[in-house]
Structure formats: structure tokens, C-alpha cells
């Protein structure tokens, strides 16, 4: 079709042509065309098939509000081609059709399926026979929805997120929005204006982002603005909403035919793209701006056979007729007009949704027949037509004889009548039952008419019906844009490179990346038992607690006694809550009279640091707490040869006398100042070295060079299990207390007060409900963690840890069992793979029960 003569404000550049493909065939467009305008220019009139009935649909709004022009562009479904700029090489296809857009086999639903698919039919059909449910599901999944997603597609679009701070955010770049932006900028404020159309407006002292859509208004003046593949998180002191008013389709039989358009849609085709929307037109409108389209059409050479002002001459009945979905005439109160273009709209509805989200109220104005925002909260302003300043308007009829209320979801007036008859008499219920306003337009074109129709059907006032809750996002937005760059901050130790170089399998432990093993955990265990191994334990939480009240502070926090810990000694401690539950465990070393060095579990460092600070915020004791977790790296050298190995790296005296079990000494190892803690989590002679993290690689290389075998988490787990050393969070849960975990010596009940004292006293008086015990399997099975313990046919406990011990040649583990079964040698059955496997309770460590290896 030929274009009209050049229009004064046309958006096309007639000197620049480009080509894209539609249904496999080339389509020529001008630079500045949308895909929709170019298709229209090439003769396309049917742009889509409707959601439920697969009726033919054509251009209606030309502004991206309605669903009629949705197509798949370059594999991206649900693109509104009336707003999407044409680009060279784009591959465009219709969607939601079985067959072709001309012969959609699913239009059978419209032709003969209507009686079987009234509103809510899916609540009453496809129930029996039940064995056909998978079939019904497959069928429905195929016919529901609009566009298709490539299930095997990978993310190819990059989305970014950016933060902006402004004094004023203006949403809407029409006359009122621009005025508000200019005024604010002139007043020295930092202004950002967002408009959903590509903006040609000059920016006088303010920033413009366009095309961009504000998605919602959140607390604290936060407005996410979707600008293509960039999400702007805008914080504004003042938000001015100038989103205008949305033209509303009239409700009448045939109102969804191809050729029925909203006034602005027709205007844009002429003024933006120099296209005549038809040959013979009838115009029905309720405000001056819309009625003025009749002149625009006449200037474009369209024969306007009738132009009706609904404020003065509103008809009772309108009926549009068509053939194969295309309009050919309209009958208005008996008077017939042949036409191929019917421009029809009621009073425009202020686009108040963002204001409502921000907390404004919305009231029905009976003199104008629309809902207007009122009672704006502080920091929120409205300008222009969205306030209800629409010029001279009057309410129109809720319907002119039937037709579609919601063209997105194919909801007709009959459907609302039926919903009401079935008892869904509130608008929120009607919405959910009929799905009106739940389609792509999200109520822009149907919310008002559905409320007004409901009011009329019930003989109630619109104010009584009310509106449904406005929620973000205000415009459809891709999940990818909201997700942005997926990035989870990981913590890595200063030895991470060494683990990777050694071929370690790296795993997540909380936020940390750690070495699970270096290929053969059993060999690593053997190295620790027979020679010497070294493990990176830099992930341990480390807190310096120092000051005149340091001892008193720790006494109040821990069930343990630490006031009598001598400088140069270290002790194991278990932190409890006031509910008496185990929160964390670790070691406490005394470095000086007023100086303690506390270690925590790897995943507990932040929460224990917070715990200490929180309690002291109440107690106000004279103590400084410093989180040294990242500052200090740590490695544990363990094995019968550990002492000899260490002696080669330091000139300090590390003999058994100078550095006994549970000693804490500072010494220089490999020229690195260290704190050495002689403790034994893995059950062999061991030294935990703490030192400034930048020296980690040097110290590690030295120790490995002297013969220490690196061992990882898995080997550590096996070794500690042989000693029945618990891991908080693995062998304990949020209900476990230190008494039931079989460590009663930790609790010093004679202390005046400590966090958890009362609860532990109650627990001691009450007696345990279950106890944590070691067990060994009688045959070669290793039960998975979480396996159920069975005793005399009844469930009685669960396995928390289990491993195969090569040294002991059997499966070992820890489990919670009822107290009466927590006896040495008691027999247990453990459910594994549906079978009952046999085990025996062992209350002493499986390996080196008297600890002589540790203390050597």
C-alpha cells in the first residue's frame, strides 16, 4: 500500500529503507517504522488470533497497550510489534496459531466450541475420567498461553542494573510531564524523565530515559524503570506521575473486529507513519481530542461517513458486522453505515495505577464516568490528564448491546453476567473467575468497563463496586531484566589458588569455596594417621576479644568457664542460646590477661560476631571485639610426624614440654609470625597455625615441601568422626543442647549467670529426650545421613553423620537415639534402602579412645 504524502511529524525516514522477514517473506520498511506499521503498509491486517477463541485481531491502539499485535520477533515471544522498532534482518512470525494466521485450526473454538467454553469452564470440565488428566494437561498446555518459549534456549540477552539518585522523577513525557520536568530543573533540582515512547523531546537541563517504563512505586521512593536491557533503580525525593489517560474501547457486538480502532491508534498510523487506516470510516468518541481524529482522517483522504459525539448523541445500540473477522459495516440505533474503519472510544480513563501503588486513593467521578486518583501520599504528585483533567467529558453507557469487555482474555458481557449469576459478585472475585484484566493489557483497556458493567448489572454504584488492587509491574517485564547479572559473592581463602593447582574438587560451604579432597580422600586420611597432613582451615571465624572485661564477657556468654584459662592455653567451647540450644562451637585461647582469641565454625563467623556485639550492646562491658576472620589464615598440621615437621620450619621450641596439648604460643614459622594452637580435631598430634593471610602461600609451600600431605574437607570429616567430634549444624540442629550432645562437662552450673543457664538447668532436671551417640555398623554398609534408626520395630532416632573408616575397617557414625538405647553395645537397626541394617552403640571414640595420640 502506498504511503500518504509526507506528514509534518512523521517518524519515518523515507530515504532509509530496511528489510525484515515476516512468515519467511521479505518486508520492506523505512527507518523509523515499527514492525507493525511496516506490516500494515505491506497489507497485513490480521495481526494475531485471540487468546481463547482465536478470533482474528488487528491493530487497535498502536501504542503497545493491547494484545492484538503480539508476535514473535527473533525468537522472543509476545512482542508488541505496533511499538517495536523495525530492524534489519528481524525474523517475525505470528504466534498462538495452529496452522497459519489465515487458517488457524483452533478457531474452531470460536465457531462451534463456544457453548462448551463459557467463563470458568475449566473449573467444571476435564474432571473425569481421572486417568485422562495427563491428556487434558497436555492439551491445555498447548492451547493456553500466547507466545512460545524455546525450552532449550540459553540466556543470550545481557541485562544490567544501574542505580540512580534524583530529586525528581517524572513518569510520562507528554506536555504535562515535560512541563513538570522543566520547572523542577529550573529550580535547580536533579530531574529524570521517563517515557514509554522513544523521546524526541529536547531535554532542557534534565535527563531523559526513553523508551522506558516505570514498573511500580515502592517504599522509600524507589521506582524500577525498565529501559530495554537496562533496569534503572531510581530513588527519587519527589515523583511526578504524568502518565495521561488511556482511551477506552466501547463495548458492543463486533467490537473486536479487524478495523475497529481506538482514536489515537488511527491518529498514529496517519501522523507517525503516513498510513491511511481505512477507506470509509465511522467515528464515535466522547472527548474533543478523540473526535478531532475525524479531521485527521479526512486530511488523509479517508471518507468519514459519520462522526458521533457520545456526549450529546449517545446511541443505545451499536453493532459492528464483518466477514472473516474484517469489519464491513456498523449499525447504530438502526442506522447502517458501510465502513472498513470504526474509530470508537469512551471517556479516557486516567492511568492512575502507579499512584494507587504508591498509596493514593481512587474515586469514581459520576459526572465523567471514570476513576480519578485522590489523596496522594507525601512525595507523590500527579500532573496532566491522569489527575482527571480531561477537558469536557461525560459518562457513556457501560455497554451498547453486548460484545467483548476484555479482548485480551476474550471475556464478553455474557461472561460477566454469568459470573454474577454464579455468585461472584465482588469485582475481585469476578476478576479471578473471569480473568478479566488479567491479560497483557493488565486492565488498561477493560478495568473501567468491567466495573461499570458490573455496577449496571447489580444496580449498584461504581463507587460501591470499587477497583481491584493495583500491583507492580505496571508493564510486562522480562524476568531476566529483574534478575540482572546473577552473581553470588563467594568467599575464598588465601590458599584457594594452591587448592586449584593441586586439582582439588572445590565445594561450597556456606559462602566459602573449600577443597573437598585432592582426588583420594582415603589416601589423605592415611597420610594423617601415618605421617603428616596439612589442611587449610582459614575459613574458621576468628574474633579478638580484648579489654578489662574480656574474661567477664566470655564468662557471661559461654556455659564454659574461661576466667580461669591461663594465658598460653586454649580450650574448646560451645556457645548456647538462652533457649539452651547449641549455637556454635570453637576454641578460646587466652593470649594475655585481657586478651582472648576465639574461633568459630566456618559458616558461623558472622553470626557469632553479631551475637557477641549484640549482647554487649545491652551489657555495655569494657571490651573490644574485632573480627579477624579474613585477616588471619590458618592451617592445621596433623599426624605422628607433625612435631618433627614443624621443628624443621621454626627455631622455636616445639617439644612436648614446651608446647603441650592445649597450649597456645606465638612463634615464627618459615619467617612468618604465627599463633600456634595445639588442639586436635582430627585426632592425631596436631598444630593449628594462625598467621596473616598474605603469607599463606609461602607457609603452605614450606609445609608441603617438608612432606605434609594436603588433605581436604572429606578426609577431615572421616578423621573427626573416628574421634566422635561433633560438627555443629551437621550432628546438631536448632533443638540440640550441649547436655544431650553428651558434653555435660562444658556446662559450669556454678557460674552466676550465663546465656542459656536457666534452660540448661531445666533440661538437666527434665532429662534428655534423645542423646547423641556413636555407632558402628556390623556389616559393610554405610548409611546415608538422615537415615532412620529403628529399635524394636519403632522409629527411634536418626543418623547425622556416617562414613567408612579404612583404619577401623567398618562403617561408623553419629546418631540421635532415645536415652534408653544410649548404652554401650546397645543394638540398633538402621533403615537403608528399605532394608534394616545392624549397628551397635559405641560411647567412646572409635579411634584412640583415651586420647594418647593427641597428647603425645
Amino acid at each position: 500500500m502506498t504511503r500518504l504524502d509526507p506528514q509534518p511529524r512523521e517518524r519515518i525516514d523515507r530515504s532509509a529503507e530496511l528489510t525484515f522477514s515476516y512468515r519467511g517473506k521479505p518486508v520492506t520498511a523505512f527507518d523509523g517504522d515499527t514492525i507493525g506499521s511496516a506490516l500494515y503498509a505491506s497489507g497485513v491486517r490480521v495481526f494475531s488470533r485471540s487468546f481463547k477463541y482465536h478470533r482474528r485481531r488487528g491493530l487497535l491502539c498502536c501504542s503497545g497497550a493491547c494484545p492484538n499485535c503480539m508476535m514473535t520477533v527473533d525468537g522472543v515471544p509476545n512482542v508488541r510489534v505496533c511499538a517495536e522498532p523495525a530492524s534489519a534482518g528481524a525474523v517475525v512470525h505470528p504466534q498462538n496459531v495452529l496452522g497459519s494466521i489465515d487458517r488457524d485450526l483452533l478457531s474452531i473454538v470460536d465457531r462451534i466450541g463456544r457453548p462448551f467454553t463459557p467463563v470458568g469452564f475449566y473449573y467444571r470440565t476435564m474432571i473425569r475420567p481421572r486417568r485422562l488428566w495427563p491428556t487434558y494437561e497436555r492439551f491445555l498446555r498447548n492451547v493456553a498461553g500466547l507466545g512460545r518459549i524455546d525450552r532449550h534456549g540459553v540466556r543470550t540477552t545481557r541485562y544490567d542494573t544501574e542505580h540512580r539518585r534524583v530529586d525528581v522523577l517524572v513518569v510520562g513525557g507528554g506536555a504535562s510531564g515535560l512541563r513538570a520536568a522543566r520547572e523542577a530543573a529550573a529550580g535547580g533540582e536533579r530531574v529524570l524523565l521517563a517515557d514509554e515512547n522513544p523521546c524526541a523531546a529536547p531535554a532542557d537541563g534534565f535527563d531523559v530515559v526513553a523508551p522506558a517504563r516505570a514498573l511500580g512505586i515502592y517504599e522509600g521512593g524507589l521506582v524500577p524503570v525498565a529501559a530495554g536491557t537496562l533496569l534503572l533503580r531510581v530513588r527519587a525525593r519527589r515523583i511526578v506521575i504524568a502518565t495521561g489517560a488511556v482511551e477506552q474501547p466501547l463495548v458492543f457486538p463486533g467490537n473486536d473486529l479487524v478495523g475497529v480502532m481506538l482514536p489515537d491508534g488511527a491518529r498514529r498510523l496517519v501522523e507517525d507513519f503516513a498510513l491511511a487506516p481505512g477507506d470509509r470510516a465511522v467515528v464515535l468518541a466522547a472527548d474533543d481530542r478523540a473526535l478531532a481524529v475525524a479531521d485527521v482522517l479526512r486530511r488523509a483522504g479517508v471518507d468519514v461517513v459519520a462522526s458521533i459525539d457520545l456526549r450529546t448523541d449517545e446511541p443505545a445500540k451499536i453493532e459492528a458486522a464483518g466477514r472473516r473477522g474484517r469489519l464491513h459495516g456498523v449499525t447504530i440505533d438502526g442506522a447502517h453505515h458501510d465502513c472498513d474503519l470504526l474509530v470508537a472510544a469512551g471517556t479516557p480513563q486516567p492511568a492512575y495505577s502507579l499512584l494507587a501503588q504508591a498509596g493514593a486513593r481512587v474515586e469514581y467521578d459520576t459526572s465523567r464516568g471514570v476513576f480519578c486518583p485522590t489523596d496522594l501520599p507525601p512525595g507523590i504528585e500527579a500532573a496532566g490528564r491522569v489527575t482527571g483533567a480531561l477537558g469536557e467529558v461525560a459518562p457513556t453507557r457501560a455497554s451498547h448491546g453486548g460484545g467483548f469487555v476484555c479482548i485480551c482474555e476474550d471475556v464478553a458481557t455474557k461472561d460477566l453476567e454469568r459470573a454474577l449469576a454464579e455468585g461472584f459478585d465482588s469485582i475481585e472475585l469476578a476478576k479471578r473467575y473471569t480473568t478479566v484484566t488479567m491479560g497483557p493489557c493488565q486492565g488498561r483497556l477493560c478495568h473501567l468497563s468491567s466495573i461499570r458493567l458490573y455496577a449496571r448489572l447489580q444496580g449498584a454504584a461504581e463507587a460501591a463496586i470499587g477497583t481491584t488492587t493495583a500491583r507492580p509491574p505496571w508493564a510486562p517485564v522480562e524476568l531476566g531484566l529483574l534478575a540482572g547479572r546473577s552473581h553470588e559473592p563467594a568467599k575464598r581463602t588465601a590458599l584457594h589458588a594452591r587448592h586449584e593447582q593441586a586439582g582439588a574438587e572445590i565445594v561450597w560451604t556456606g559462602a566459602w569455596k573449600r577443597a573437598h579432597s585432592y582426588g583420594d580422600a582415603a589416601a589423605e586420611v592415611r597420610a594423617v594417621h601415618e605421617a603428616a597432613g596439612v589442611i587449610d582451615v582459614s575459613t574458621l571465624g576468628k574474633l579478638l576479644v580484648t579489654g578489662p572485661d574480656a574474661a567477664a564477657f566470655l564468662e557471661r556468654l559461654y556455659p564454659n568457664r574461661f576466667a580461669d584459662l591461663k594465658p598460653g592455653r586454649v580450650r574448646y567451647g560451645v556457645l548456647s542460646t538462652d533457649a539452651g540450644r547449641i549455637m556454635d562451637d570453637g576454641t578460646v585461647a587466652r593470649l594475655g590477661e585481657e586478651q582472648y582469641y576465639v574461633t568459630t565454625t566456618s559458616t558461623g563467623s558472622d553470626s557469632v560476631h553479631g551475637w557477641f556485639e549484640w549482647w554487649n550492646a545491652s551489657w555495655g562491658m569494657d571490651v573490644e571485639i574485632v573480627n579477624l576472620t579474613g585477616a588471619v589464615a590458618a592451617v592445621n598440621v596433623a599426624g605422628p610426624n607433625a612435631r618433627d615437621l614443624l621443628a624443621q620450619a621454626t627455631s622455636a621450641d616445639v617439644s612436648r614440654e614446651a608446647l603441650p596439648y592445649l597450649a597456645a604460643r606465638e612463634a615464627t614459622v618459615a619467617d612468618v609470625p604465627c599463633l600456634i594452637l595445639r588442639i586436635g580435631f582430627v585426632g592425631e598430634l596436631g598444630y593449628e597455625l594462625h598467621f596473616a593471610s598474605p603469607h599463606a602461600e609461602h607457609l603452605w609451600d614450606t609445609l608441603v615441601g617438608l612432606g605434609a600431605t594436603p588433605f581436604g574437607l572429606e578426609a577431615q570429616r572421616i578423621l573427626r568422626l573416628e574421634k566422635q567430634h561433633i560438627i555443629v549444624g551437621q550432628d546438631t540442629d536448632s533443638e540440640s543442647n550441649v547436655l544431650d550432645a553428651q558434653m555435660p562437662w562444658i556446662v559450669k552450673f556454678d557460674k552466676d549467670d550465663f546465656v542459656g543457664k536457666w534452660a540448661l538447668e531445666h533440661a538437666r532436671a527434665r532429662g534428655p529426650r534423645e542423646l547423641l551417640v556413636g555407632f558402628e555398623m556390623l556389616d559393610g554398609v554405610v548409611p546415608p545421613e538422615g537415615s532412620q534408626v529403628v529399635r524394636e520395630g519403632r522409629p527411634g532416632g536418626r543418623v547425622t553423620s556416617a562414613r567408612w573408616s579404612e583404619r577401623l575397617e567398618r562403617g561408623i557414625g553419629l546418631a540421635w537415639v532415645p536415652p534408653e538405647h544410649a548404652r554401650e553395645d546397645a543394638e540398633l537397626e538402621i533403615r537403608v534402602d528399605g532394608r534394616l541394617e545392624h549397628a551397635r552403640v559405641r560411647l567412646q571414640p572409635f579411634y584412640d579412645p583415651d586420647g594418647s595420640q593427641l597428647r603425645t
Partner: protein, 88 residues
Amino acid sequence: MSFLLPCPHCGPRDVNEFDYAGEVTTRPTGTPDVRELAGYVYFRRNVAGVQREWWHHRFGCDAWFLAERDTRTNEVLCTEVPAARARS
């Protein structure tokens, strides 16, 4: 949730910079019985109105402070740093 919480040191910040640490409770004095202890450990007033609560500016200055916030509107009426601790 995106309201701005005024940190006493750093000023108004996105609430997601903070950890919420719950309603301010009163730790029992003396020796509570099981019922009183359970009340302290498990029960909260959970008011629909102004609540006194703990916050931790985890991503900022790391301070622990108190706030009074209307739980219906998320309006923060005031914040305060706990009384200065004893210092020698």
C-alpha cells in the same frame, strides 16, 4: 521491601543493607520458671504499631542500634545507639 532505614552513623540507607534482629525483649532477672523462660524465648508482642527493635548495619558501619518503627507503614520514627559502654 525497600524502605529507607536511617542508620544513626551513616544516614538513610536501603533497608537491605541491614540485618533485622527482632523486637527488643526484656531478659528475665532472677531464675525464671519454665513458663516464664518459654515466654521470653518464644513469645513476642508483635504489635501492629510502633515497635522497638534491634538492627545491625551489616553492610555499612557494622553498628548495632535500636529503632522505633511503625510495623504497619515501615515509617521509622527514631533510631538510637545503645548507651555508651564503660571505658577505662
